[in-house]
């Protein structure tokens, strides 16, 4: 950069330049933080959706709102292309290794051979490939809705629970719908499954998996006067190969499922992913709009600084023009100065934003910390941001350039 100031004015000029770069850096840091954290959380949620293992989900309003889960699952399974239909009932119950060792656990009731494990890189492989829960179809105990068949009383427990309570395979534990050992039922521990400790908190980490009919009868959701018959929260539907990745085929299949249950919500994860992406795009736009206020202030400040420099350097500019140096060279120099300043400011802003996110990830409160740890610094978006700032700085510089070149030479030399 060329500086035409001198002595104190040169120091003032430098201070103005530093302040202009700082204003731009501040303005850029904000969208960097918002977009990287917001984008990271969205990407994480999207990855969760894509790795869910199932593609369609049937849900109902209210607690455990799907009734006749076994029957509906069977109906869904009969649709061509469906490879699994897994009703899931989630209820918090108490587990006991002894009468005095009650521990709340998240119990999930599933049909063993329909269970769909999550496919994400951190979750895949946490479950045994075949759940060791006795009756794979959960039809023996269920007995066509009479629940009169023999229950297996098998359960598999999460590794954190097993570790915390020194439970091993082959041991017995008592599961009770309330914190009362005497109301519980004894179960055989037939296996364990892992829980990603970074994803679930302690309560979620203490979990058990058992046959759906067992959990329904234990918690009263097998039916009766007070509860929905054969209840479940959702039915997760997995489909075969190519349909899973073809949004239109998936939507068609979703329509078939919806036709079976017009009174339940049926959505495909593609839809949810699109909605998430759309929401993420809206949020990114909102972040950018919010940040544009700061950015505008920074660029106005830059324009002001460039104009002040032109004013301060009017004689030097006049001399150069008097010597015959082309206006475009002088304009290029002013624009270059502005662009370099904006580039430095934007780069500092990106770095500052990165450091802020790192600081949040290290020291913020848990929710913010968790979000900051998911931050994604997309070089394309950051590059576009920097290019945008430099482009806008050229516009700001154009104002200064116009002023410099419209000044009559004879007046500039006075």
């Amino acid at each position: 950069m060329t500086r035409w100031g001198r002595g104190r004015s040169l120091r003032h000029s430098r201070l103005q330049l530093v302040l202009a770069a700082a204003a731009i850096a501040t303005a850029v840091a904000l969208p960097v933080v918002l977009i990287s954290v917001g984008g990271g959380v969205s990407a994480h949620e999207l990855a969760n959706l894509q790795n869910a293992g199932y593609q369609i989900v049937v849900s109902a309003a209210g607690l455990h709102g799907i009734t006749h889960a076994h029957g509906y699952a069977a109906q869904i399974l009969s649709i061509s292309g469906v490879t699994a239909a897994s009703p899931v009932l989630s209820v918090t119950i108490d587990a006991f290794t002894t009468a005095a060792s009650a521990s709340p656990v998240l119990a999930e009731g599933v049909i063993p051979d329909q269970f769909i494990p999550t496919l994400g890189p951190s979750e895949a492989g946490l479950f045994p490939s075949s759940l060791p829960l006795g009756d794979p179809t959960d039809q023996v105990h269920f007995a066509h809705g009479t629940y009169s068949g023999a229950a297996t009383y098998d359960v598999i427990v999460s590794t954190p629970y097993a570790a915390a309570h020194s439970v091993s395979v082959g041991q017995r534990i008592v599961l009770s719908p309330v914190n009362n050992f005497t109301l519980g039922t004894t179960y055989n521990v037939t296996g364990t499954f892992g829980v990603p400790p970074t994803v679930l908190g302690p309560t979620g980490a203490f979990a058990v998996l058992l046959p759906l009919s067992d959990l329904q009868t234990m918690t009263g959701y097998a039916g009766g006067s007070a509860a929905a018959p054969d209840a479940a929260d959702t039915i997760q539907v997995a489909v075969a190969g190519s349909i899973a990745t073809d949004p239109s085929a998936l939507d068609q299949l979703r329509g078939q499922v919806q036709a079976l249950f017009p009174y339940y919500g049926v959505s495909s994860l593609t839809q949810e992913a699109q909605q998430l992406q759309s929401a993420s795009g809206v949020l990114t736009g909102f972040y950018l709009a919010l940040s544009s206020v700061g950015l505008s202030v920074g660029l106005l400040f830059l324009a002001l600084v460039l104009l002040r420099r032109v004013e301060a350097d009017r004689r030097s500019i006049g001399v150069r023009r008097a010597l015959g140096i082309p206006g475009r060279s002088i304009a290029a120099e002013i624009l270059w100065d502005g662009a370099v300043l904006a580039l430095l400011g934007a780069a500092a802003g990106v770095l500052g934003g990165y450091l802020i996110v790192e600081a949040l990830a290290a020291w913020a409160t848990s929710a913010v910390q968790e979000a900051a740890q998911l931050a994604v610094f997309d070089p394309v978006i950051l590059g576009e941001l920097v290019v945008g700032v430099v482009g806008l700085s050229l516009l700001a510089g154009a104002v200064a350039t116009r002023t410099a070149l419209r000044m009559p030479i004879s007046e500039a030399l006075r």
Partner: protein, 235 residues
Amino acid sequence: MSERTAPPSIELSAVVRTYGAGTPEEVRALRGVDLTIPPGEFVSVAGPSGCGKTTLLNLLGLLDSPTSGEVRWDADSVGERTDRARARLRLEGVGFIFQRFYLLPTLTARENVELPMRALHVPRGERTRRSVQLLEEVGLGGRERAFPHQLSGGEEQRVAVARALANHPGLLLADEPTGELDSGNTQAILALLERVRRDRGATLVIVTHNPDVARRAERHITMRDGAVVEDVREA
């Protein structure tokens, strides 16, 4: 561009220059000046402050355009050319020397001299060679790396002269070149300008209040109230 530019024959016809036309602050700096300056002539322009000397110089050097009338170089009307075209003519054909030197403070003496050459895209090696040679020519050999604030007034004006000569102009225009110098430096700068004019065959127009300076020219123009009131050639 390293060829010497031939000095133009300059002609001003009924040149009027008005500032702030149509406003209460309207100033008629030149009121119909007719003037011809043949190539290679040494002309002094004198007159009281505000008589239009600097305006005349600006018009001769294409820094300004007349409100009416014509400025011709070699019979070619140049006063009304575009800014870019006039800038090119100035760059290639005119060397300016100002009363306050107007060196760029953040450039060294050599860089100041190189400035017009850079605009003409003279190769770096040639630029350096020529600027060092010019600084030696004006008596500043060894001071190439000095910044303007490290130079005396006389030295600054020598750098300004070297800068004015950088592109071998045919026309040298000096506006009170010795106005801020002591008598010793005044004599030195005048001797330098005369030598340059003689060696290079350039036209030299000096605006001055100083009768001693004016006396050294071969033609003396006196102005008053925006008009040429006297135009005398030495015998």
